[in-house]
């Protein structure tokens, strides 16, 4: 047995982050905050000043990240042209002409999800269907375009309100950069043209176009899908998931918008993919995700422009990608974050979330200069599970669609699914239960919204209702929609909240 004791002596002396953008600057800001002004030098290398902009969305726990960094909501809203995000509104996914809402937060008031779900399904079976948003303060606020915060000790139904943000990613990266640089992160402008490995197979240094070399103990590869370090130099493979997620292109555009922004992302299914609209303070970001086997880039762009009700600003931008994940997100002394670690289309907005959870895992498994493979193996195990869970959730959106009006959708309905998703879907379809596997990002409430929104309804009744006693259950639930309506009615309009919270009249 080895005696403990060498800890500090083997600590990292420097960390180099390769690539700016949101992932890189999230890493920089978080490392600077957590490591403090210690002996570890933090450097971020990025090719140029301008980071990739565009509207993006987050999940509610981004607020915990901001709390860690000490970023106030007011500062964030003002700096990134942000709006509140309460839900995603899906159009035409189950069938053309039908829609559903996927709101954050739980259903019901002070009730376990399993019981709510059983009640809600039984109610529908008894001929009293009721949309999910009537059972969710978040969903109803989203529908009515309302939002407000409440004191921490609020005991009304509004304490179940859950929210995230829509924001401009370029501005967000700039905000994070300010925080990171204030805490001592050094930014180096330059393009990485070569990566030198040492005889142990670890990354030794980066060479920039101007000839400078930057050595470090640890490298964080945030260079995007090309993954210059972990894939380019360390030759780490990529697990291709396009058999389940065939979309491989996105065309995006910024739009001008009139009217107040809504607290809702719109996701509209199209013949060969889907289209998003993310409302920002002024204007909106729109994009069209599609599969190039079924749609040309020109067609995709013109479809995007035709339906973007807002006036386009500038020209559309095209992105190519392959859904999947890095075979190992941590190899030797290099960790991949963001698109370098895995690319999943922005459906359900998990991109930034996965950077955040990756950083959380890094802090829990922080390395020293020995880079023990057992530590990175644990990081990789958890990361692989997380990605597979998100993948299954996204695949469900396509696989459970009833659409058969286009070759793309017929392909999606016929494709074989990952075994884990088959189990989940069949368990719900036949028995009305939601299986949660290890490292889930999405809770049963989210799975319920997607299953039923797409038209998957359980075949068998819910015995749990009888267990509790039908009358007792009904009494408890029947008053909830009214409680929720009253609570939401006290909230200001979303635009009013933004104006007041961000101090912009």
């Amino acid at each position: 047995m080895t005696e403990p004791g060498q800890g500090a002596a083997r600590g990292l002396r420097s960390i180099v982050i390769v690539g700016g953008d949101v992932a890189g600057w999230m890493a920089a800001a978080a490392l600077a905050r957590v490591l403090g002004p210690a002996a570890c030098e933090l450097i971020l290398v990025e090719p140029n000043e301008s980071t990739t902009g565009g509207a993006d969305g987050a999940l509610p726990n981004l607020r915990a990240f901001h709390a860690l960094l000490g970023i106030e909501e007011r500062e964030f809203l003002a700096a990134t042209h942000a709006t509140i995000k309460l839900a995603t509104q899906f159009h035409d996914w189950g069938r053309v002409g039908e829609g559903f809402l996927h709101a954050f937060g739980p259903y019901g008031v002070d009730v376990k999800h399993e019981l709510f779900q059983a009640y809600w399904l039984a109610r529908r079976r008894a001929g009293r269907p009721s949309p999910l948003e009537e059972w969710s303060v978040t969903g109803l606020a989203a529908t009515l375009g309302r939002f407000g915060t409440r004191p921490a000790n609020d005991s009304s139904a509004l304490r179940h309100l859950s929210y995230a943000y829509h924001f401009d990613a370029g501005l967000y990266a700039r905000l994070l950069r300010t925080h990171a640089e204030k805490r001592g992160v050094r930014r180096v402008e330059g393009e990485v043209v070569d990566v030198t490995l040492n005889d142990k197979g670890r990354v030794e240094s980066l060479r920039l176009r101007d000839g400078r070399a930057i050595g470090s103990d640890f490298f964080i590869d945030c260079s995007g899908p090309d993954a210059r370090v972990i894939a380019g130099a360390l030759r780490t493979g990529y697990e291709d998931w396009s058999q389940w997620l065939p979309c491989n292109r996105a065309v995006t555009i910024e739009c001008e918008s009139t009217g107040d922004p809504t607290p809702v992302t719109e996701a509209t299914a199209r013949a060969s993919g889907w289209q998003w609209r993310i409302p920002l303070r002024r204007g909106a970001g729109c994009g069209h995700v599609y599969c190039s086997l079924y749609l040309s880039d020109d067609e995709a762009a013109s479809e995007l422009l035709a339906v973007a009700g807002d006036a386009p600003l500038g020209d559309p931008r095209l992105l190519r990608f392959t859904a999947g994940r890095r075979a190992n997100a941590w190899v030797a002394n290099c960790l991949a974050l963001g698109d370098a670690a895995g690319v999943l289309e922005p459906l359900e907005a998990t991109g930034i979330h996965r950077v955040q959870t990756g950083l959380g895992r890094l802090f829990a498994l922080f390395p020293d200069r020995d880079f023990d493979p057992a530590i990175s193996a644990e990081y990789n195990r958890l990361t692989a599970l997380e990605h597979a869970r998100v993948r299954d959730f996204l695949v469900l959106h396509y696989a459970a669609s009833q659409r058969d009006d286009a070759p793309f959708w017929r392909h999606c309905r016929a494709m074989p699914l990952p075994e884990t998703l088959t189990h989940k879907r069949d368990l719900f379809a036949r028995a009305g239960r939601i299986a949660q596997l290890e490292e889930e990002t999405f809770v049963p409430a989210s799975w319920l919204a997607i299953y039923t929104g797409l038209g998957v309804w359980p075949e068998r009744p819910e015995p749990i209702i009888d267990i509790v006693g039908a009358a007792a259950v009904a009494g408890r639930f029947d008053a909830m929609p009214e409680t929720i309506r009253k609570a939401v009615a006290t909230l200001p309009a979303h635009a009013t909240y933004l104006a007041e919270a961000a101090g912009i009249a």
Binding site: M1, T2, E3, P4, G5, Q6, G7, A8, R10, G11, L12, V34, L35, G36, A38, E114, F363, A364, L365, F366, P367, D368, D370, D372, P373, A374, I375, A377, E378, R381, H423, D426, L427, R430, A431, R433, A435, E438, R460, P461, P463, I464, D466, I467, G469
Partner: protein, 500 residues
């Protein structure tokens, strides 16, 4: 569809598993089914292993609405703060308590704080920060306070009880809620020809008991799940080679300890479970390395009171049923699998089996997807407990053939990764959030003398003197809090002593 609801549940076998199932099902699904029947034979003895429990039993009892004081009196229970391990580490005795080692500090786990402080020359033991360990060492106990932030609210507890009395207590509970007990010995099982579902169990004297859902609590016999449905058994004896136990009760001497003891022997280990009126003892051993006579001598030579009977022998094979739910039959307890009682998990596994059955409660069609999900969840529980138990043998540095075998055997991949990860950086990987948590694994790793090569570098961000002061403060608070508790025996006398 409503017409296909389960009308009749038949529980096969009494014992603790059977009566726990009867009590829980009558309380929670009794309203939905027409009848719950339990078939048992007074001629067949129950095993009665598992007199020590985990804290989850309290939640189970609370779900039934049992009065804790009454429960303790009826089952002559004592309180359990954890397990003392003697002889597992040749250098010292250690404790696996139902508490952590203090709160995180700046996101760093308490065991990492201790490692860091130790690296800087601090000689205090990590056990000084565990309130359950310190209180157990003093023989003191009181239930934790509701305030989780206070050190006296930061621990949990279980019970050590008479399992036969527990079964009898639950029988009265279940019968009061309409469960019908049928006395009889099962001689055959009839399957429905159409789908192979269990249709009825046939009793001696040409009687038969039919039902829609069968719960197999027939113990090692596994009458339905194995003898009839042939679910199959995954034999884990290559990892857990102990295959025998000799059990004997002895007279109590002195005040009952608020903990279970596990004492390592040459080819196995011995449990000591203090109850209010007697002490339960047993020697779990591997028959390849020690004979029954010697094992019995070892047991009888290590009692702290007079033996109340001759030791009773049990034979077993560690392992789990490949499917514990098949068609319309769910196996609970020993019929579902066996893991030696080293961490008192048998009754816990019955509780979680019952809980999941209720969550996934089927109708008469017994949708196979429900069984698949149940089996997935149960397999995960069994495997994660199995790996935790294997660790005890694997990481022990004791001498002897059994112990050498265990040090060199090939272990499950998941456990190998867990051990490598802990040795690398003191990180605890968990595969099943419902099973043993980080403090439990740390108790075993440290207790057995397995320390990581390095501590969490994040702990180095905390200033050394500040950390030392904080740990000193915590140690003082834990010591004072433990000292403030009443003696375990005095607490029982005051609140819950069983009538003699």
């Amino acid at each position: 569809m409503a017409g296909s609801a389960v009308r009749r549940i038949v529980i096969v076998g009494g014992g603790s598993a059977g009566w726990m199932a009867a009590a829980a099902l009558s309380a929670l699904v009794g309203r939905r089914v027409e009848e719950i029947v339990l078939v048992e034979s007074a001629q067949i003895g129950t095993i009665g292993v598992g007199e020590a429990t985990l804290p989850t039993l309290r939640a189970f009892n609370a779900t039934l609405g049992l009065d804790e004081i009454e429960f303790i009196r009826k089952t002559r229970a004592t309180f359990k703060l954890g397990i003392e391990f003697r002889g597992w580490n040749p250098d010292r005795t250690f404790f696996h308590g139902f508490s952590d080692f203090g709160p995180d500090l700046r996101g760093v786990s308490p065991h990492q704080l201790w490692l860091r402080s130790r690296a800087a020359g601090d000689e205090r033991s990590y056990a000084d920060y565990s309130i359950s360990t310190v209180a157990a060492g003093l023989g003191r106990f009181a239930p934790p306070l509701a305030d989780r932030g206070s050190v006296l609210g930061s621990y949990s507890y279980a019970f050590q009880f008479d399992a036969t009395a527990y079964a009898a207590y639950l029988r009265a509970f279940a019968e009061a809620r309409g469960v019908k007990r049928i006395e009889g010995r099962i001689v055959d099982v009839r399957l429905r020809s159409a789908d192979g579902f269990v249709e009825a169990v046939l009793l001696q004297g040409e009687r038969s008991v039919s039902g829609d859902l069968f719960i197999d609590c027939s113990g090692f016999a596994a009458l339905l799940i194995e003898r009839t449905l042939h679910a199959g058994f995954d034999d884990w004896s290559k990892w857990l080679p102990c295959d025998r136990a000799l059990a004997v009760a002895c007279a109590r001497s002195g005040e009952p300890a608020p903990f279970t003891s596990s004492i390592a022997h040459r080819a196995g280990w011995q449990w000591r479970i203090p109850l209010q009126h007697r002490t339960g003892n047993g020697h779990v051993f591997c028959s390849s390395y020690v004979g029954e006579d010697e094992a019995a001598q070892t047991l009888l030579g290590n009692l702290d009171g007079e033996a109340l009977a001759a030791p009773r022998l049990l034979k077993f094979t560690a392992g789990v049923r490949r499917a514990s739910w098949m068609r319309n039959c769910v196996a609970l307890g020993l019929a579902g699998g066996f893991l030696e009682p080293l961490e008192s998990t048998s009754i816990h596994l019955v509780e979680s089996g019952i809980g999941r059955l209720i969550e996934l409660f089927p109708d008469r069609g017994c949708e196979p997807k429900l069984a698949q999900e149940y089996n997935r969840l149960m397999a995960r529980s069994y495997e994660s407990i199995r790996d935790f138990i294997i660790l005890h043998y694997r990481a022990s540095r004791r001498e002897g053939e059994l112990w050498r075998y265990c040090r060199n055997m090939t272990i499950p991949d998941g456990l190998r990764h867990q051990i490598e990860l802990f040795q690398a950086g003191g990180v605890v990987a968990l595969y099943d959030s419902g099973a043993f948590a980080e403090p439990s694994w740390v108790s075993l790793y440290f207790g057995l003398g397995m320390f990581p090569r390095r501590h969490d570098p994040m702990a180095d961000l905390i200033e050394e003197a500040a950390l030392s002061r904080e740990l000193q403060r915590r140690g003082r608070i834990v010591a004072g809090a433990a000292q403030s508790l009443p003696l375990h025996g005095a607490f029982i006398d005051k609140y819950c002593r069983a009538a003699t």
